[in-house]
C-alpha cells in the first residue's frame, strides 16, 4: 500500500506540484489539501510546501496560519503525526507556533536562490531517523526571509533538546559564515519540535529529487518518513 502525503495549498503556494513529483518519486501518493477545508483526506503525513501563501502580506505565514486547514494540521501534529514545512511552510509552522523561533529577512537583504550543503544534526523524528549524524546533504534554497532567529535562552533549549535538525555547512561539513546564505543564528537551516514529528526547513528537498536536478538527497527525508509510517 502507498502512503498518503497531504500537500497543503494556500493561495500563493507554488511548490505543491514539485512536492507531488517528489512524493511520487519516493513512492508515496500525493493528495492536495485546500487551505479553506478542514480535513486531511486521510493523509499519513502532511507537507506545507514553499511559496508566498497569501502573498506573505503582513508577515510570512502570518495569514496562512489562520487557515481552516491549519486547525487540522495542528491536530495531526499534536497527535504525533509527521508534518514537514518547507520554506514558506517552515515560516507558517513558526507563525502557528508548532515550531519555535522565527524567520527574518536574509541578512544580505536580497532573495537567495542557490545550492547549499546541509549537515544533519539530529537523527530522530520521521524525516531524519534514517540518516546518520553529520551526513552532508545538498539542496537548493530559494527565499528572501530565511534567517532563523530565536531568543538566546530558546536557542540554548533547542540545542539542549536536540531540536536543531540541519545546519548550513561547507562541502565537507565545516561551519562558517561563508556557508550561511542568510545569516541564520547557529547556521540553522531546519528545526524540529521537541517530539521530533514536526520538522521545518528552509532548503527545498523537493528540488533535490533526481540526479538531473543536481541532487537526490531530498528523497532520503521522505523515504525515511514513509518507511516509518509504513512500519507503524
Amino acid at each position: 500500500m502507498t502512503w498518503r502525503c497531504g500537500i497543503a495549498v494556500f493561495p500563493g503556494t507554488w511548490s505543491e506540484r514539485d512536492c507531488a513529483h517528489w512524493v511520487e518519486l519516493a513512492g508515496g501518493e500525493p493528495v492536495m489539501l485546500w487551505h479553506a477545508e478542514r480535513e486531511l483526506k486521510g493523509a499519513d503525513l502532511v507537507i506545507l510546501p514553499g511559496g508566498f501563501a497569501h502573498g506573505d502580506y503582513l508577515r510570512t505565514g502570518a495569514i496562512a496560519r489562520f487557515a481552516p486547514l491549519m486547525a487540522a494540521v495542528r491536530e495531526h501534529a499534536l497527535a504525533g503525526g509527521p508534518v514537514l514545512g518547507i520554506c514558506n511552510g517552515f515560516q507558517i509552522l513558526c507563525e502557528a507556533q508548532l515550531l519555535p523561533g522565527a524567520l527574518l529577512r536574509n541578512s544580505c537583504l536580497q532573495f537567495r536562490c542557490q545550492t547549499t550543503h546541509l549537515r544533519v544534526e539530529a537523527t530522530r523524528g520521521p524525516f531524519l531517523s534514517g540518516l546518520e549524524s553529520g551526513r552532508i546533504l545538498t539542496m537548493p534554497i530559494s527565499h528572501g526571509e530565511g534567517r532563523y532567529y530565536a531568543p538566546p535562552e530558546q536557542l540554548l533549549e533547542l540545542e539542549a533538546h536536540g531540536q536543531v535538525a540541519l545546519r548550513y555547512c561547507g562541502p565537507s561539513g565545516e561551519l562558517g559564515d561563508e556557508y550561511n546564505p542568510n545569516g541564520s543564528l547557529q547556521h540553522i537551516a531546519g528545526v524540529m519540535n521537541r517530539e521530533g514529528n514536526v520538522l521545518g526547513m528552509m532548503p527545498h528537498p523537493e528540488r533535490a529529487c533526481e540526479p538531473l536536478l543536481g541532487s537526490e538527497d531530498g528523497l532520503h527525508l521522505l523515504r525515511a518518513a514513509l518507511a516509518l509510517v509504513g512500519a507503524s
Binding site: 493561495p11 500563493g12 514539485d18 517528489w22 508566498f52 502573498g55 506573505d56 538531473l212 536536478l213
Partner: protein, 743 residues
C-alpha cells in the same frame, strides 16, 4: 451621449499623444467631433505602443511561416508545436520607460504583463528570461537602477513561482539615461486547451476579473510613446504597482478554466486597459462589445468613465463567456478569492459602446479605433560624418595594457563576468524542470514525461548595431542560434523586442529600418519564423537616443535532456577545437568599450550560411556526445571564451593559434576580436576524427588548437594567465562593482 468637445488645444492633444492631423483624421472618419472620453480612447489605441503605426509596415517583412508555427504574431503570444499535442507559447516585451522611473515596480510589472500574455493563451508559464541594459556600474545611480530592476524582476517571478532561467545584461554608458528592461515568458499548453483572445457570440457576457480598477497607470500606453524628459520623475503615477500574489491566483484560476467550453475568449488587460482589451477581442471576432462601467469594481471613489476606460491597473483579465454559464466560471474565481464581474456583453454592431449612469457615453466603430490610425512614415537617413566611420581603425590609440592585463580586465568586465550576482536573486528552479541553470549559453527546461526539453536564450548586439544596425540585428540572431547549438538544441522560432530611440529622428528611423531588414534576412536564412514581438520606441533622454537594440529571444528543442554537455572543459587531455568562422575584428568590441574608445571600425563580419552550417555541426557533435563541452566566442573574443571554458571546468588549457598577430596589432585582434560564428569545443582525443568528419561534411572550418590541462590558461607565445586569476576576475566583475554604495 456627451457632446463632442470644441477642437482641443495642442497641449490637450499632446497629453493624449495625438497630433492635430490625427485629431482631424478622427473627426473625418467618425463624421463628427469625438467627445473627451472617445478622444482618450483613440489616443491610447492610436499610440505607437498599441498601434505600431511607425513600425507596422516594416514588421511585415518578418516571416512567421514554418511547419512548426501554430499561432503567429497578432495574438497575445506566438505558439509553436513541440509534437505529441504539446504547444509552446512565448513572447518578449519591454517595460523600459516605467523601469527608468520606478525601477522595482517598472520591472516587476513588466514581468507581470508578459506572464499574463502567456497564460491568456491557456499556457502555464514555465520560464522567464530577461534582457537588461544599464549605464556604467561606476556610476552610483546606475548601480541603484540595476539593483532595483533585478529586485523587481526577481520579486514578481519569485512570488508567482515561475523560474527565471536565463537572460543577458549589458552595461554601457549609452544606456545612462534609458535603461532597457525586456522580459520573455515561455509557457506550455496542450492543443485542446489553447485559448484565443477573441469575442464571439452576440449576447455572450463580458467579464472583468482580478484586481479592482484604480487610477494607476492612466496614460501608460501614451507615456510609453513619447520621449522621457528631465521631468519624467513626475510621471511616476503612470507606473503601475504590481501584486504578484493576486496574479498568481488569477493565473491559477484562468488555467483551471482553460479547458472549459464555457470560456469563449480570454485577454489580459495591459496597455490602454479595458479600451484595448475589449476593442481587440471584439475586432478579432468581428463583433462589438457594450460595456456598462457602473459594473466595474473600482479601487477609488469618483472615477470618471475616462479614468475607468484608460486605467492600466495590473492583474486584470477580460473574459467572454458562453451565455448561461457565468456562474460556473465565477465559481472558479470565487474559489481563488478573486473578484469577477459581468461588465458588458457581445453585440453585433462592430462598435465599442460605453455606458455609464444609464447613458451611452462613448460609441466608436472598432474599425476606426483599432485600424483607423494614420500610418507614420518618418523620414530616415543614414547618419553622416565620421561618427560611424566603418573604415576607421577600431582603436585610435595604442592599448596601454599587456595582453594579460587586457585579458583579465575583460574577464572582470561586468559584461563578460559571472552573472550569479543577478540570478541568485531569481528563483530559477521552481517547477523542478530547470536542468541547465542560468549562466550558460542557454538555459534548458525539460518537458515532463518526455525525453526532450526546451533550450532558451535572449541576445542582442547593440554596439555592432550602432555601427551597422542591419548587421547588428543579424549578429543577435546568429548569436542566439549559436547559444542554442552549444546545448545541442535546434532553434524552433523567435520572438523579438525592438528597442530604439525617437523614430522622428532620421538616424533612428534609418536604424529601425535597417535592423528590421537585417532581422528578416537572418531569420529567413536561418529558417527561424518570427512568432511574436514588441516594439519600444522613444527610448531617449533629453534628445539622446539609445543605441539601436534589437533583442531576440529564441526557443529551441534538445532531443535528450539526459545527454547535455557540462558547462566547461571536462577532462585533462581533451582536445580543443576551434570550429566555424575565421577572422576577428575589434570594431564595436568589448575591448574597445573598456578602453573608452568611440564605437568605430567595421563590425564583425557575418556569413549567415556558414553560421547555419556551423551551428548544425556543433549541434550534431553535442548531440552525439562527441563534444564534451561547447561554448561560442562572443564578447571578448576567443581568449575570453577559452578562459570561461577553463573556469567553468576548473581546468587549464594550452592553445596554439596558427595565425600570427600582425605587428601593428600585437595580438589584441587575434585574442579579443569578436569575429562571428566561432565555437570552442572540447572532445576526447578519440573523438577528433568524428569532429573533423562532421565539420568537413558540412563544410565548416575546424582546427585543433590545443589541449585541456594544467593550472593556467595559455595562448602559446602570446599570453598566459593563472586559472585562479581568471576565476577571480570573472567572479568579481559584477559583484565587485556592486560592492560600492548605491545612490
Amino acid at each position: 451621449m456627451t457632446a463632442g468637445m470644441a477642437t482641443p488645444s495642442p497641449a490637450q492633444l499632446r497629453e493624449l499623444a495625438l497630433t492635430e492631423e490625427e485629431y482631424h483624421h478622427a473627426v473625418r472618419q467618425l463624421g463628427r467631433v469625438p467627445n473627451q472620453l472617445e478622444l482618450g480612447m483613440l489616443g491610447a489605441l492610436w499610440s505607437e505602443h498599441c498601434s505600431y503605426k511607425t513600425s507596422r509596415r516594416l514588421l511585415s517583412q518578418l516571416s512567421s511561416k514554418g511547419p512548426q508555427v501554430v499561432v503567429g504574431p497578432g495574438e497575445n503570444a506566438g505558439v509553436v508545436d513541440l509534437g505529441e499535442g504539446l504547444l509552446c507559447c512565448f513572447k518578449i516585451e519591454s517595460h523600459n520607460h516605467p523601469s527608468a522611473i520606478e525601477p522595482v515596480q517598472g520591472a516587476a510589472t513588466g514581468v507581470g504583463g508578459i506572464l499574463r500574455d502567456v497564460f491568456a493563451m491557456g499556457a502555464r508559464p514555465v520560464a522567464l528570461l530577461d534582457a537588461l541594459r544599464f549605464g556604467d556600474l561606476t556610476d552610483a545611480a546606475q548601480r541603484h537602477r540595476f539593483a532595483k530592476v533585478v529586485e523587481g524582476v526577481g520579486h514578481y517571478g519569485n512570488c508567482i513561482g515561475v523560474p527565471t532561467v536565463g537572460g543577458e545584461t549589458y552595461f554601457d554608458a549609452a544606456y545612462q539615461g534609458n535603461c532597457l528592461v525586456n522580459a520573455m515568458c515561455v509557457g506550455l499548453v496542450t492543443a485542446p486547451r489553447l485559448l484565443h483572445a477573441v469575442a464571439r457570440g452576440v449576447g455572450n457576457p463580458v467579464l472583468l476579473v482580478g484586481a479592482d480598477t484604480g487610477r494607476d497607470g492612466i496614460h501608460g500606453a501614451t507615456f510609453a510613446s513619447v520621449q522621457l524628459d528631465e521631468g519624467a520623475e513626475e510621471r511616476r503615477p503612470a507606473v503601475q504597482v504590481g501584486n504578484p500574489f493576486l496574479e498568481k491566483c488569477l493565473m491559477e484560476a484562468c488555467l483551471e478554466l482553460a479547458g472549459s467550453s464555457a470560456l469563449v475568449g480570454l485577454q489580459d488587460c495591459g496597455a490602454a486597459g479595458l479600451t484595448s482589451s475589449c476593442a481587440e477581442m471584439a475586432r478579432r471576432g468581428g463583433v462589438g462589445i457594450r460595456l456598462d462601467l457602473d459594473q466595474v469594481a473600482r479601487r477609488e471613489l469618483g472615477m470618471t468613465p475616462y479614468e475607468v476606460m484608460l486605467s492600466e491597473s495590473q492583474e486584470r483579465m477580460v473574459l467572454v463567456v458562453e451565455r448561461g454559464r457565468v456562474e460556473e466560471v465565477r465559481a472558479v474565481f470565487d474559489r481563488w478569492e478573486l473578484r469577477s464581474d459581468v461588465v458588458g456583453e457581445v453585440i453585433s454592431p462592430e462598435e465599442l459602446q460605453i455606458c455609464s449612469g444609464g447613458e451611452m457615453v462613448a460609441r466608436l466603430p472598432l474599425q476606426i479605433l483599432v485600424e483607423g490610425f494614420l500610418p507614420r512614415r518618418p523620414r530616415s537617413a543614414r547618419p553622416e560624418g565620421v561618427a560611424r566611420d566603418l573604415s576607421a581603425p577600431p582603436l585610435a590609440a595604442e592599448v596601454p595594457w599587456t595582453l594579460e592585463e587586457a585579458w583579465l580586465r575583460l574577464l572582470a568586465s561586468p559584461n563578460c563576468a559571472d552573472t550569479s550576482w543577478i540570478y541568485r536573486q531569481y528563483d530559477h528552479q521552481v517547477g523542478d524542470d530547470t536542468v541547465v541553470l542560468p549562466g550558460r549559453d542557454a538555459a534548458v527546461v525539460r518537458l515532463r514525461g518526455r525525453p526532450d526539453g526546451l533550450a532558451l536564450t535572449v541576445d542582442g548586439a547593440h554596439r555592432s548595431s550602432l555601427l551597422d544596425p542591419r548587421r547588428g540585428a543579424q549578429l543577435a540572431v546568429a548569436e542566439a542560434v549559436r547559444n542554442l547549438a552549444c546545448l545541442g538544441a535546434r532553434p524552433l522560432a523567435l520572438t523579438n523586442c525592438l528597442n530604439f530611440g525617437d523614430p522622428d529622428r532620421e538616424e533612428v528611423m534609418w536604424q529601425l529600418e535597417e535592423a528590421v531588414a537585417g532581422l528578416a534576412d537572418a531569420c529567413r536564412q536561418l529558417a527561424l519564423p518570427v512568432v511574436s514581438g514588441n516594439v519600444s520606441l522613444y527610448n531617449d533622454l533629453s534628445g539622446a537616443s539609445i543605441p539601436p537594440t534589437p533583442v531576440v529571444g529564441v526557443v529551441g528543442q534538445v532531443d535528450d535532456v539526459q545527454r547535455l554537455p557540462g558547462p566547461g572543459f571536462a577532462a585533462p587531455g581533451d582536445h580543443i577545437y576551434l570550429v566555424g568562422g575565421e577572422g576577428a575584428g575589434l570594431g564595436g568590441s568589448e575591448l574597445q568599450r573598456l578602453l573608452g574608445e568611440a564605437v568605430l571600425g567595421p563590425p564583425p563580419e557575418l556569413d549567415l550560411e556558414l553560421e547555419r552550417r556551423a551551428s548544425e555541426a556543433v549541434r550534431q557533435l553535442v548531440s552525439e556526445r562527441v563534444a564534451r563541452s561547447a561554448h561560442d566566442c562572443s564578447l571578448g573574443g576567443l581568449a575570453v571564451a577559452l578562459a570561461e571554458c577553463c573556469v567553468e571546468g576548473s581546468l587549464g588549457a594550452v592553445v596554439r593559434l596558427a595565425e600570427a598577430p600582425t605587428p601593428s596589432d600585437g595580438g589584441f585582434d587575434l585574442l579579443f576580436g569578436e569575429g562571428s560564428g566561432r565555437y570552442l569545443l572540447s572532445v576526447e582525443p578519440s573523438g577528433g576524427v568524428r569532429t573533423e568528419e562532421v565539420c568537413s561534411h558540412l563544410g565548416v572550418p575546424c582546427v585543433r588548437v590545443g589541449e585541456v590541462g594544467g593550472d593556467s590558461v595559455e595562448i602559446v607565445g602570446l599570453a598566459q594567465i593563472p586559472l585562479a586569476a581568471a576565476a577571480e576576475a570573472r567572479l568579481k566583475g559584477i559583484a565587485g562593482a556592486m560592492a560600492g554604495p548605491v545612490l
